[in-house]
Symmetry: C2
Subunit: 247 residues, 2 copies
DNA sequence: ACCTGAACACCGTTCAAGT
DNA sequence: ACCTGAACACCGTTCAAGT
């Protein structure tokens, strides 16, 4: 499976070294400013040389960097034993990984597949947990999709990047705008009633990304809601019901 | 509030017209290939002229296009009357909007704010629904964050774009890779047992985006799980509990 | 107020050439 | 096998100039 079976001598340019420094560049520069030329500079080589190690070009390299950021998120424990704990662990680990690599969040949040190897252990784990929870067949697949989307969803939004240029000015003007609208009791009574809990601490109403101002309790609620929902929705999908009737 | 109070004569270049054609370009070209120069071409003007109408540059224009794609998602009904129905409607409308503008999904899925006006009606509605559901104070804020993340999460992943170049070759090779791994009963027994339900129809294991192969039943399950969870988690946040004890 | 036009610095990628 | 080096087509943005 390994693409190259060579001894990687010290100081040599490896595919792995390219991917690692790519993730490093992504962390430093952000997704927009990330460039092949910068990666090449970082590893001390001409831009075009990268292509030999990473044929996928910029997108391929980003995909591999994202996959690297994802390494270690799959819990080691047995998913069948305590499926709730396993899934909760998975959610926590995914968010923690995105916390370490916030600029990879948008990448993983909107990608068909991590291009450099499908994370099959993760898939297997989720399926095992959901089977233990009582899901099977089409309902299992649907629940699996729900879990993956949920795992990815919160962190993607939480770590969404601030605009690159004039961050402070942008934050200041957005802040005053939000703090004004949020007290418009005439048009938005519920919002006004909860202005203090919400301004600067809620999606769409905040002016800092999750790296600077984490949404810990929001995430805790999110996971709670989702796990309880998985419990409650078990065996109640409309399709499953009609099938049970038919057979 | 409106930025310009002018009569927009026929054929004139308006800010709105620029944003509308920008969304059009985004739909046609995708996020990566989207360029100011192409938008300028489409409206028949020099690239630098756009900057007069849209000072935000490329990112600003994209943000406004995304906001336009989002118009009409907030349900008109009373969120306090039947909060479950209202939220379900919201989820459906958001996904439908992203179905119409798949390339805007990634944009909205990873953005702090839609830059050209915060969607306050949506915020107000969600807060009202959650208050009706029994959430208040910090727990209300947390639940709000959970709802927004959930609303955005599924569609962002479902409509994640396929690679721009060599789509067919990519799909074919990924397909064979997935179909092989998925039957590796030794390493992934649960996966192998559910290979038929899952291959090509589940996140990370599919080779088509949601525009070509919608994940309808997965989305239905997702919404179901989340709404049931909101029901069950009500008034059970750890903080709320300790507060109830203290006072 | 609204748009043209040239110029700048920076991209990703291709392709030939070196060793 | 692995990397250099030049070249190409395309960017977003700035800034002066037109009307």
């Amino acid at each position: 499976m390994a693409r190259t079976m060579r001894k990687p001598r010290r100081g040599e340019l490896t595919r792995d070294r390219v991917v690692a420094t790519a993730l490093d560049c992504l962390d430093r520069l952000g997704l927009e400013a990330f460039s092949m030329r910068e990666v090449a500079r970082a590893v001390g080589v001409f831009p075009t040389a990268l292509r030999w190690h990473v044929p996928g070009g910029r997108n391929g390299l980003l995909a591999e960097a994202a996959a690297l950021a994802l390494s270690g998120v799959t819990p080691e424990g047995d998913a069948a034993k305590d499926w709730r704990a396993w899934l909760r662990d998975l959610f926590d680990r995914y968010r923690a990984a995105m916390r370490r690599h916030p600029n990879a969040a948008a990448l993983l949040g909107a990608q068909l597949v991590s291009n450099g190897g499908v994370p099959l252990a993760l898939v297997e784990g989720v399926l095992t947990a959901l089977e233990a929870a009582g899901y099977q067949g089409d309902a299992l697949r649907d629940a699996y999709n729900a879990v993956i989307a949920a795992m990815v969803g919160f962190a993607t939004l939480e770590f969404a990047p601030e605009p690159a240029e004039d961050r402070d000015g942008w934050a200041a003007s957005l802040r005053t705008h939000v703090e004004a609208s949020v007290r418009d009791a005439g048009r938005y009574p519920t919002l006004a009633r909860n202005a203090n809990q919400v301004a600067g601490q809620a999606f769409v109403l905040r002016w800092q990304t999750g790296s600077a101002a984490p949404l810990d309790s929001g995430f805790a609620c999110y996971v709670d809601v989702f796990l309880r929902g998985l419990d409650a929705a078990r065996g109640s999908s409309s399709k499953a019901k009609t099938r049970d009737v038919l057979f």
